[in-house]
């Protein structure tokens, strides 16, 4: 697992540069698949099963998981990406 790449993705996310975060993550397909799989699992069991955004959308988290599986990223996904990266970094001890 490329911890440095994860740190860089996290830095882009914190700066609100989602395009660069995604591009950086996608450059390592193995890491991308691992992170996305974890995100899908997290979304499928997320408490309450719904999440809202500022645009007036109310998302079923299971639908968000399906969108991700199709490769479609929505702004709300980046919150989940950040949380999952946190978890992975903690597990890696970095």
């Amino acid at each position: 697992m490329d911890a440095r790449r994860l740190k860089q993705v996290e830095a882009f996310l914190r700066a609100g540069d989602y395009n660069s975060a995604l591009r950086w993550l996608m450059a390592d397909p193995e890491l991308y698949n691992y992170v996305v799989t974890r995100m899908i699992n997290a979304l499928l069991s997320y408490p309450g099963g719904k999440i809202s955004d500022l645009n007036g959308n109310v998302w079923n988290t299971a639908d968000l998981a399906m969108e991700l599986r199709r490769g479609r990223w929505l702004p709300v996904h980046f919150n989940f990406l950040l949380s999952e990266i946190d978890m992975i970094e903690r597990e890696l001890g970095v």
Binding site: Y46, P47, G48, K50, I51, D53, V76, S83
Partner: protein, 132 residues
């Protein structure tokens, strides 16, 4: 506020409030249940949510919060909502009007109610800390 106090705050909330949007971080609103979950997982988003609770802030303006809450409430409302003018709106109609920003007096009233409930929910955190 420690994790224990977050749990205490969550447990002090009415069931109807536990799954309604309350706090905004990044691109999403979080319900008290989701906020507690993120804090328990120890994520950075959890840290930000905990800070909002401690500081008694929602992380967004009140109208945006009221809109997010009301849209979820309307999703679960099974009946039409009558008005003093005699017109009755279906929850779907009201949600559509809300999304378009067509705020009728009835919608404004419903939003004000959500703001009051959200303030009360967040206000309970102070009581929990006060009773430490």
């Amino acid at each position: 506020m420690s994790l224990e106090l977050m749990r205490k705050w969550f447990n002090s909330l009415p069931e109807s409030e536990k799954d309604l949007p309350l706090l905004h971080v990044g691109n999403a609103f979080y319900t008290p249940r989701q906020a507690l979950y993120e804090v328990e997982r120890g994520t950075k988003i959890g840290e930000q949510l905990q800070r909002l609770v401690e500081e008694g802030r929602f992380g967004t303006d009140l109208n945006a919060l009221a809109k997010a809450r009301l849209l979820q409430v309307l999703e679960k409302t099974p009946y039409k909502i009558g008005t003093l003018t005699g017109k009755a709106y279906s929850p779907e109609e009201l949600a559509e009007m809300l999304k378009k920003g067509e705020l009728t007096p009835e919608l404004k009233l419903l939003m004000e109610t959500e703001i009051e409930l959200a303030k009360r929910t967040l206000g309970l955190a102070k009581k929990v800390v006060g009773g430490e």
